[in-house]
């Protein structure tokens, strides 16, 4: 199934900001994050189709996953 991954802020470094993949049915956002060599603690906000979602949620064909890193400075 086709999944689009959008990366934001520093997650774009050395990666494209938008990636298209074919994954097996039932894959989760968390598995995709690890496949992209992103550590789970590098992702603070995870959206699926623009909706705040847990990393263990199974994805559907055509889903768009957006990943944002933690921003904590002052």
């Amino acid at each position: 199934m086709s999944i689009c991954v959008k990366l934001f802020a520093t997650l774009r470094e050395n990666r494209d900001k938008k990636l298209e993949f074919d994954f097996k049915k039932g894959i989760t956002s968390q598995e995709i994050i690890l496949k992209l060599n992103i550590e789970l603690n590098e992702v603070a906000i995870l959206l699926v189709n623009g909706i705040y979602s847990p990393p263990e949620q199974e994805l559907e064909d055509g889903d768009v996953v957006s990943l944002f890193p933690p921003v904590g400075g002052g």
Binding site: P69, P70, V71, G73
Partner: protein, 228 residues
């Protein structure tokens, strides 16, 4: 007759301005974000501020912290912020705490404040602020910055927003790698101050249950909903 706040009056009613001027605002953190936040609140006309920071200015603050200059390195940030803000408006009443905001002193600091905004560099401290603000039933404008990136959200009592932005077990984000610099800090602080003003007058859009993510490198401003 034109007074010092004459230019506020084109966009705000007298009733709104009175309400804003009479709001007691707490600013936690007086460094990068905090310096600009304090300056803009005082310029706008806020008459009472509570400011908190344990740190002293150091050389590496000169690239972004509004009140830091070559002559005040080694001096307390809260004292310098108070001194400089009073130059803008000598009538402003600023209560300064030269201590780190924490669960022990937080209630005493926030009592009698109507709203709190932060510019701290600790995610753990943000969790303390949100808990105490909720306890005393005041809104909290949460601002953070990292390099070209920043985010702002407005959290009202009992909202579960912060836990959706941060892992409770971490204390820092990508700022450890990106550093921070002047224009991002000023931009995020300004949006945070605008949230404070809009919450006070209950007009315009407030980022409750939403976060504004700013990417200055790509000129992207994205509001995302944190509601399921």
């Amino acid at each position: 007759m034109k007074d010092r706040f004459f230019a506020n009056k084109g966009s705000f009613s007298n009733k709104e301005l009175e309400k804003i001027y009479n709001t007691r605002v707490a600013v936690i953190g007086c460094g990068g974000l905090g310096g600009y936040i304090i300056q803009e609140l005082v310029q706008f006309g806020i008459r009472e501020l509570v400011i908190v920071d344990a740190d002293k200015f150091e050389l590496t603050n000169l690239n972004r912290q509004l009140y830091c200059n070559e002559n005040n390195l080694g001096l307390l940030k809260v004292a310098q912020a108070k001194k400089n803000a009073e130059k803008v408006n000598s009538a402003v009443m600023i209560t300064a705490y030269d201590k780190k905001f924490d669960a022990e002193n937080g209630l005493e600091i926030l009592k009698d404040c109507d709203i709190v905004i932060d510019g701290v560099d600790s995610i753990q401290t943000r969790f303390v602020i949100v808990a105490l603000a909720s306890q005393i039933n005041i809104p909290y404008v949460c601002c953070s910055v990292a390099g070209f990136y920043g985010q702002i959200t407005s959290i009202f009592p009992k909202d579960n927003t912060l836990a959706k932005l941060y892992d409770k077990n971490t204390d820092t984000g990508i700022e450890k790698k990106t550093g921070n610099f002047s224009f991002s800090v000023a931009a995020i602080a300004s949006i945070g101050v605008s949230q404070v003003i809009k919450i006070i007058i209950n007009r315009g859009n407030v980022l409750q249950h939403h976060v504004l993510l700013v990417d200055i490198l790509s000129n992207e401003f994205k509001i995302i909903s944190l509601q399921k």
